[in-house]
Structure formats: structure tokens, C-alpha cells
């Protein structure tokens, strides 16, 4: 049984509250706390725009609350570690971002998030604030294609938030933004591999157990079971398996353009991810699939978990436009 991780924290019960204080300060004035709530909002929000509210459980930093900023999320509702935010937090955040043109709720497809965001949406409707929801469900390991609605959201979150943020800066209506974001959701596929576990600060216990020579393909962002547990493999073999799952899920075709994202779940080195990128590009080259844009970094973590995920999003001109807009936030910034 793995030992509890050593963490540099204060009171384990206060990690989320203190993290949010530190997060607001780290944004150098560009975001503010929604008073009395575990929620944040941009300080430079334009007066009239469709609002994008993101959120979910904490412990995955920089996701979600690190992705609030220009052409990204307009605000975020933050739950406790691995726990969806409660409806009151979501309602407060939604009111803080609302600028008269409705609010897009964009979050990962988990039972807890769905229930809490839905409850919040009902409360907001009572107050005549229009809410539309897009649930991110990019993890091909979570369910077969015919039950895509059962899939959970993993690192595809970043591309989805990027596109939503871009679309909501340009498009006039909530309907238009939803249309673009739903299209992005239809075209995004991810899968991860776990190498070792992370742990929740308050319990100190690792979220799963893997033998010293084992990895798990398809494990979810909270240690949910994947598609196969197997012996440690060379990077190329791991990349082959991941790409196989992704490329067989969406009919990617020769000539397609994609966004490629390799996400560090926490403790994996960038060296490893770049070695994997090399193999991914060989595979895509063989298939005639062109990479329009690559991101390699640490976006959705599971505390100190080691492992990474690969995401492909099939692009058209509209998705490219919103994906390529400059964006700035603490956790993701690109010109």
C-alpha cells in the first residue's frame, strides 16, 4: 500500500479556501472572489456578453478556476476536493458573470456536477436568468460510443473552455455559443494512462493502487477504472494503445485537421510527454491527419498522480477560429 503523500499545506480542511485566496492573488487583479462564496469572476468582464461559467471539484488545478480570464471562462464555481460545487455556489457565480445575455454552464460530465449544476439552473430560471448546459464527455475509456452521454470529462475540458471563451467573446447569442461548443464536444476525444496515484489532502490516502510495474490505460481523473491494467510498457507502445482507442472512436480521416493536447495528470515529466508526442505524430502522419495546434502541459491534474492523457479534437474553420484566439488565464495563456 502506497504511503500518503507529503504535502506542503496548512489545515487540510482549509485547502480549498486558502487555495482560492492564493489563486485570486496570483491573477494580479484580473479576477475577484464572489463575496461569501467559493467562486471567482473576471474583473474585466465586458458589459454585454454571453457568459461562460465553468466549474467542478477542486484538486485538479489549474482546472477549472485557473482557466478564468480573457477568452476563457468568465467565472468559476469551485467545489471541495473532487466534489462538485453546491447549487448555492453555482448560483452566486452565475449571477456574478451574467451580463444579460444568458449563461453557458460548461463542466465535466459527472453525476455530482450534473445534479448540482441542474439544481442551480432551476433556481436561476426562477429568477429569469437563461442557462444552457454543455457537459464535457471526452473520455473514450468511460463508455462505448453509443453511450457517449455516459462518458466523463477529462483534459478535453481545456479545449472546450478555450473554444467557449472565444465563441462567447464574438457571438451575440447564447444559442450560437451553445451550437459551437456542442460541435466542439462532438469532435473531441481523450484517453489517459495512470502510472501512480494521487491523494486527497484531507484523507492523505491514495485514490487507487497500482503495482510498481503496472499502469492502467483509460483511468479517469479521480482514479475511476480504465479499460486495461497492464505491465509498464515503452512509451511508443503506450502511445499506440491510446491513439488506437481515440482513432477508432471518431472517424478521423486522412486530410483532417486536429488540435492535439497532451495533459500531465500531475507528476509525469514533460520529457515523457514529448517522447510520447513524437510517436503520436508518427501515427498521425501515417493516417494523413494534420496537427493544426499542439499543447503539451499540465492542465487537469489529480493531485500528485503520475500519468497523462492524450486529446484530439477534429477541427473545422469555425472551431479553429475560436481555438486560435489569444487567451489569458493563470493556468493557460497563449498568444
Amino acid at each position: 500500500m502506497a504511503k500518503a503523500a507529503k504535502k506542503i499545506i496548512n489545515d487540510p480542511k482549509k485547502v480549498v479556501a486558502e487555495m482560492l485566496d492564493g489563486l485570486v492573488l496570483a491573477n494580479d487583479g484580473r479576477i475577484a472572489r464572489v463575496p461569501g462564496h467559493a467562486a471567482i469572476v473576471r474583473t474585466d468582464l465586458p458589459e454585454s456578453k454571453v457568459a461562460v461559467l465553468i466549474g467542478g471539484g477542486s484538486g485538479h488545478e489549474p482546472l477549472f478556476h485557473g482557466f478564468v480570464g480573457r477568452n476563457m471562462g468568465d467565472g468559476a464555481a469551485c467545489g471541495q476536493v473532487f466534489a462538485a460545487p453546491s447549487p448555492d455556489i453555482i448560483v452566486a457565480a452565475a449571477k456574478a458573470v451574467h451580463r444579460g445575455k444568458g449563461v453557458l454552464f460548461l463542466y465535466g460530465n459527472y453525476a455530482g456536477d450534473t445534479m448540482n449544476f441542474d439544481m442551480a439552473a432551476e433556481l436561476l430560471e426562477d429568477e429569469d436568468i437563461e442557462v444552457r448546459t454543455v457537459r464535457i464527455a471526452d473520455d473514450v475509456a468511460a463508455a462505448p460510443p453509443e453511450r457517449k452521454y455516459d462518458r466523463r470529462g477529462i483534459a478535453g475540458d481545456l479545449l472546450m473552455i478555450k473554444i467557449a471563451g472565444g465563441a462567447a467573446s464574438e457571438l451575440e447569442t447564447l444559442d450560437d455559443v451553445v451550437r459551437v461548443v456542442e460541435k466542439a464536444g462532438d469532435n473531441v476525444r481523450s484517453i489517459g494512462v495512470a502510472v501512480s496515484a494521487g491523494s486527497i489532502p484531507e484523507t492523505g490516502k491514495p485514490t487507487f493502487e497500482l503495482a510498481d510495474d503496472e499502469i492502467e490505460i483509460g483511468m479517469g481523473a479521480h482514479g475511476e477504472a480504465g479499460v486495461s491494467r497492464q505491465k509498464l510498457l515503452p512509451a511508443d507502445a503506450v502511445a499506440d494503445q491510446l491513439m488506437d482507442k481515440i482513432l477508432n472512436d471518431l472517424p478521423f480521416q486522412s486530410g483532417d485537421e486536429v488540435a492535439l493536447l497532451i495533459n500531465n495528470l500531475g507528476a509525469t515529466t514533460m520529457m515523457e510527454m514529448l517522447i510520447v508526442n513524437r510517436r503520436i505524430r508518427q501515427i498521425l502522419d501515417e493516417r494523413g491527419i494534420k496537427v493544426h495546434r499542439t499543447d503539451v502541459g499540465t492542465w487537469l491534474t489529480v493531485q500528485e498522480m503520475a500519468g497523462f492523457s492524450v486529446t484530439l479534437m477534429k477541427l473545422d474553420d469555425e472551431l479553429k477560429r475560436y481555438l486560435d484566439m489569444p487567451a489569458e488565464s493563470l493556468g493557460y495563456s497563449r498568444m
Binding site: 471541495q80 448555492d88 485514490t207 477504472a225 480504465g226
Partner: protein, 211 residues
Amino acid sequence: MAATLEKDDVVAMLRHVSERLIAQVDILTDADLAIGDGDHGIGMQRGFEGTLESFDATPPENIEAAFKAMGTAILSKTGGAAGAIFGTLFRAGSKVTAGKETIGGADIAAFLETGLEAVLKRGGVTEGQKTIIDGLAPAARAARAKEAEGADAVLSAAADAAVAGVEATKGMVATTGKARSLGERSLGHPDPGAISVSLILKAMQDFAARA
């Protein structure tokens, strides 16, 4: 042995539930580590600590308010799936006690049924999917079967049914929540949310037996 409960009994019972559950969070943590993400224990702890704080800050004025305050505290402090589910259970269930100075067996059965109905609607699952429902639905049925026998007997029957329900979840393959992706690997493990239901009812039963 209390056949009916007054407001002060209900508040004391819900305090007892909160304290007992806080003392047992490790069971929930370990159960959620086995098939979920390991936060069910600390989540319920936040909800029950919130309940006690709420009772301290604003002593409930009546029975409905007591149940509702517990639901509200859980809803806002627990978060996650359990926060929505248990929050909904207590908030929706509280409505059947509106205007009542005392509650008896039939009221408790109605509380569980109404809460269950709201939870089913909220979560969109049915029995057999390895969730809270598999503790709550048998408990509600057992309660209704004993409705004539008074609060203590009804709670005893409900708690026993919930415990049996937890046992039954071991034989179920999860098809919702974080355990879903485990598929067959979820077999043999009880559902953490259902365990919470059984511990809550057990604590109520013990309180009613002593009251």
C-alpha cells in the same frame, strides 16, 4: 422507546445522527476509495458538521425546519453527488412534516417515500444501479409496511432494510456515478452512498430506541 417524536426529539435525533456519522467517516472514505474517488467520508463530514453549526446558529423552530436545515446544510457543505442527493432527500422529505408538532411511524414512512421520489427524479437512476437508492428504497418500503407501529419500530425496520440493501449492493454492477466505469470490478464492494443511508437510519433507530 418513542412511538412519536416532538420537535426537540427530532432536533436531538438529527444531532445524534450528525455526531455518529462524523465519528464513522472512515468507513465511508474506505468504501469510496474502493469504488469511487475517496471523498464520500469527508463530504458527509462537512455536511453533518454544517448541520450542527446550523442548529447552533439557528435552533429550528419546528420539525419541518429541522429536517430542512439538515438538508440545506448537506446540500451546500457536502458537495458532489452525495450533497445533491442527501440534501434533496432531507429538504424534499421535510415537506411531509409541515405543520406537525409530533411525528409518528406513518410520518417517517412518508418522509422516506417523498425524499426517495425527489432523489430518484434528481439523480435519474433506478433501483439496482448500486446507489443510495438501493439503501433508501427498501428502507422506505419497510417503513411503510410498519407504519402503524410507531416511530421507533418504523426506524428499526427501515434501518434493517437499508443494511440489507447495502449488502445487496455488493452483488450489483454500478451503472452510474464514479463507480460506473469499474463495471464488473465493482462487484463485491458495497455502495458508499447506500452505506451512508444505513448509518443514518441506524443512528435514528438507536436514538428512538433510547428516547
